[in-house]
Symmetry: C3
């Protein structure tokens, strides 16, 4: 087995996996799954987005190269098992961390795709996929309409904007950590503001058609 | 970024992505998703089948090599936003175009797999996957039973037949554009006839068991 | 087309695909899909787990290298069409064979990943994925909550244990067929005992929180 050291980016990534994993374990609890279902759903939510990204890039998924990645989902399932109501009462702070995960994953995902030689548009799309893919898989596998499509408050837009900015800065040669951190902060703040003020975008059908019955 | 020129096959492919994308944006409208959900679902429907095919072939998905592919889903989402009832009233013509997309994708998908060195059976299956995979992902992600499994009128059979013919002709050395165009026309006409006359195939259970209650 | 000979491991694998395929065709029958839907769902259930495993390993899925793999799903769909109530009455024996498929796939999947150079943790996870992935795809595509998450009797745990043992033995240098057969028998017996005595594990939420309403 390869040696792995806990570098700063890895630690950040593991925190992202953990907070996404919490949402998976909480959904498992709500749906009456057992503790193993909770573990599987936490794992799928935490590492699913990165798996889709890496499979499209033609690379072995990061989570499979590094056994550390299986620790955060296990912790998330354990925490929900022990103190589910507490975790839920803390969902407000958890949403903060989810926003941090969203910011982190859309940026690291975009950069990984750019480094693999993808064009900027595709790289931004893969960054967005990394950020929202785990949550999408979580809901699809638990047989509910994805939160991603819930028009309550914008979720994908901060990730799309962040991934797009990172790809654009890359084209301009602005690849330093400072630029990336700035974008991460913008994505994080946008999502927090959207949560706080229930920012929405228009529905899929223009408001002038609202009375028309689609079937 | 690589140069891309709008060749004839690319233009045809983009039309296919657009018409499949329309069905994704219409479903988003019916489900009350917002405009971003509409865009994401249109994109997944339009390019999802090709992504599954290319991932199985071990290649970077075409849509990620060429930013042009992101234009048709955007147009589809925009069109549904602006004139959804009109798009729906035009569903009859849209189904015509969907049939054209089906014919096109099952043939180009099969040929791409054959060129990658897959055996004829696997190539035909990947051609069918290209043709029906996007619609399958659309329905799975929107949490509805896939239209693909709707026994109302046959959808997969024309694609299976077309992909099988292409793979068989390839084995016989008949790889000219004329043969491929003939197969495309056969697939298209079969699907149109199935739509018009509500052609069906038997259910999964033989009619002699219809009264038996499966649980 | 490459030559394929029906070796013993291939024959075993095809039996696994057939028994998993039966569960797909039976679900199609229950859902009122047509015979083509039955065939597609049987195929997806039978070979889906292996496809996910191989795509993550960056290899062309076994089922696409070898046209034999398309025979068992066809037989499964045909059998359900002809004698669905009989197949269902035989579900008890079918569950026996499903347990055999589970034991077989978790072991062959883990070994394939180890041979591809994956670390033991990732290999065990890919073995579990091979074993439970097809059934998961079956349910997701048919729009029902996956049986995998049904807390009625344990299903994933025998596979997790078996895959873990195989990976551990591999690390210890115990790679002979005898060890693998022993693990297969353990997995098979555990699943049969779980079915017989309705073995369960705790729910995702600790029993001391059972009255708390999660939303």
């Amino acid at each position: 087995m390869e040696e792995t050291t806990l570098t700063m980016p890895l630690v950040l990534d593991l925190f992202g996996v953990f907070f996404f994993g919490l949402s998976g374990a909480l959904l498992a609890a709500r749906r009456g799954f057992d503790i193993i279902g909770s573990l599987l759903l936490a794992g799928l939510t935490g590492i699913g987005g990165g798996i889709i990204r890496d499979v499209i890039l033609g690379q072995v998924p990061t989570a499979f190269n590094d056994p550390f990645y299986f620790v955060p989902p296990a912790l998330a399932a354990l925490l929900v098992f022990l103190v589910a109501p507490g975790v839920q009462r803390l969902m407000r702070p958890v949403l903060l961390f989810d926003a941090a995960g969203l910011a982190l994953f859309c940026i690291t995902g975009t950069i990984k795709a750019l480094e693999a030689g993808m064009n900027p548009v595709a790289s931004a799309l893969l960054g967005v996929t990394s950020a929202v893919g785990g949550g999408l898989l979580r809901d699809v596998v638990a047989n509910k309409t994805p939160e991603l499509f819930n028009p309550r408050d914008i979720y994908a837009i901060p990730a799309i904007l962040g991934a797009g900015l990172i790809a654009w800065f890359w084209e301009l040669g602005l690849t330093s950590g400072g630029w990336q951190l700035s974008v991460a902060i913008v994505v994080f703040l946008l999502r927090i503001l959207a949560l706080t003020f229930h920012w929405r975008v228009p529905k899929a059908v223009g408001p002038w058609h609202r009375d028309v019955r689609l079937h």
